[in-house]
Symmetry: C2
Subunit: 308 residues, 2 copies
């Protein structure tokens, strides 16, 4: 890792794999913040996204390492509705566990930002901070609302080319809308992620109010046949690829459970398709980051086992 290098280069604000100085930015990354955390560094970067056509921010937690050259696995975290990259960084308490297991954690934003597309800020569950990790096909969203392509085709490469990662050795997890994203990204890309887990995920968006609103707007009417391409409960039925286990976590005092989340539909569909599921129900827990913080250590430990 380049951490020791950075420590000795306080003037460096953006850098690549080998601690490039500001005058030699090869990567298009700008470092926005850097906080020492559990022996490692919680950082936030911005970059110009070609896929989304706007400036995007994402967090990277870099755990402490023995030397500058050690390559580490990466866990991607996808956040839920209304979140930016900040919520997870500040509230989940993931850094402690990432440091213990020596994994990098990368967490992107939840939608394009700053585009001012008419209607993109009219509601909290559509548009800004509600990208739903899909590729929109409808106007006025189809040119920019492509969070799926952003993560799969841009962010993974960006991370692998800028940090000392074990390229290809990565897992994914998320919360609510981001749990839907983690499930869909892993089911649509067999073998890309070594493991997947989700806190209170939207498991069957085609039949819940949040999903119907988002899919109608981004993809058009259900009759176009596009919805099932972005619905984990549908995708799991035709999953073919390396063995993949779905780790679904659900608080039982969650205001959005079951109507918006419907984990049992996914559990049933997975059983039918022969895809193994871990389904953990958490008595008294709600939809908040207090719930996530309580079990993020268990999830990071789960992924770390798959990334060993």
């Amino acid at each position: 890792m380049y951490l020791a290098c950075i420590i000795n280069c306080p003037a460096i604000r953006a850098f690549g794999k080998h601690c490039r100085p500001l005058s030699n930015i090869m990567t298009g990354l700008t470092e926005l913040s850097r906080n020492k955390s559990f022996g490692g560094w919680q950082t936030v970067f911005s970059h110009e996204s070609k896929v989304l056509g706007c400036t995007m921010k994402f967090g990277v937690y870099l755990p402490p390492t023995e030397n500058d050259t050690e390559n580490l696995p990466v866990i991607y975290w996808l956040s839920g509705l209304t979140c930016s990259e900040a919520n997870f960084i500040e509230k989940a308490g993931a850094q402690r566990y990432a440091a213990e297991h020596k994994v990098i954690i990368v967490n992107p934003d939840t939608s394009p930002r700053g585009l001012n597309i008419p209607g993109d800020s009219d509601s909290w569950d559509f548009g800004v901070a509600a990208g739903f990790y899909l590729n929109a096909t409808q106007d006025p969203w189809k040119n920019n609302y492509k969070m799926y392509d952003y993560i799969i085709k841009e962010l993974l490469d960006l991370v692998n080319s800028n940090f000392n990662t074990q390229a290809g050795n990565q897992s994914i997890m998320g919360h609510s809308m981001g749990g839907h994203g983690a499930l869909v990204l892993s089911l649509k890309n067999p073998g890309l992620f070594k493991s997947v887990s989700a806190f209170a995920p939207i498991c069957n968006p085609s039949i819940c109010p949040w999903g119907i609103k988002a899919f109608s707007g981004y993809l058009g009417p259900k009759e176009t046949g596009q919805w099932e391409e972005w619905d984990a409960t549908e995708l799991v039925k035709k999953y073919k690829g390396p063995p993949l286990e779905l780790f679904i976590d659900q608080g039982l005092n969650d205001n959005f459970y079951p109507a918006q989340l419907n984990p049992k539909n996914l559990v049933e569909a997975s059983k039918g398709a022969g895809v193994p599921v871990i389904f953990k129900e958490r008595e008294s827990y709600n939809h908040s980051y207090f719930y996530i913080a309580s079990f993020i250590g268990e999830h990071i430990g789960y992924h770390a086992q798959h990334l060993k």
Copy 2:
């Protein structure tokens, strides 16, 4: 503890030691939120403070217990400038350690609220969210800005009469302005707290810009002789009471270190007075909650030992 009771009484919004229902509030507490966290409950209450003359909020983390009647020790947390009760609850990650050590954590707000005293919101380091844990003697502050009396004379009783505490078995810690508060409260009340610790505390407010501004406004000119009554570096010189060790924690990449914080003045004064000090310097850490979160477990473990 009343936790099992609460779980079975979802309609109860405010309650006393024995799970009193809403129609029988004996305590003047109103429960504002309740989130399950690490097996216990992170709660927030409001009450009408007689000392401060306004509505105040405070957080209470209640760890999981074996039964409804177990009394537990309490650690008080005092926050820094600009904070409400929310920052510590959301960002410090203390719940995990409080659950492990079976201690209650109580964290009050940082000043009176909602009074609209002329000038109370003109700057971020004086007035609202900047009460400095003292009793003001100057107009227009002296009637309400009495955070010292609030904690010592009102909050401790309120907590002991509403929760299953081991009354008198309590410790105190804080951050920055709240670190100053923790030190001053423990030094001015020998034996009241079993232990004290502070993250990046303002150790010698009489000589730093934050302290000079606050003391001048709340207490009047230095010549009145009041400042040294609220300055840990002065108070330690005349400390008489049960043995008290000061645990001072300081990040070495803290923007406010040393000019606003001056921990070495306190360390020197303590040595001169025969008061033992643990002074931990943390390479590369700054003034943020990322720093606090990294070491809050160590502090809670320290207090738990003294509270055993």
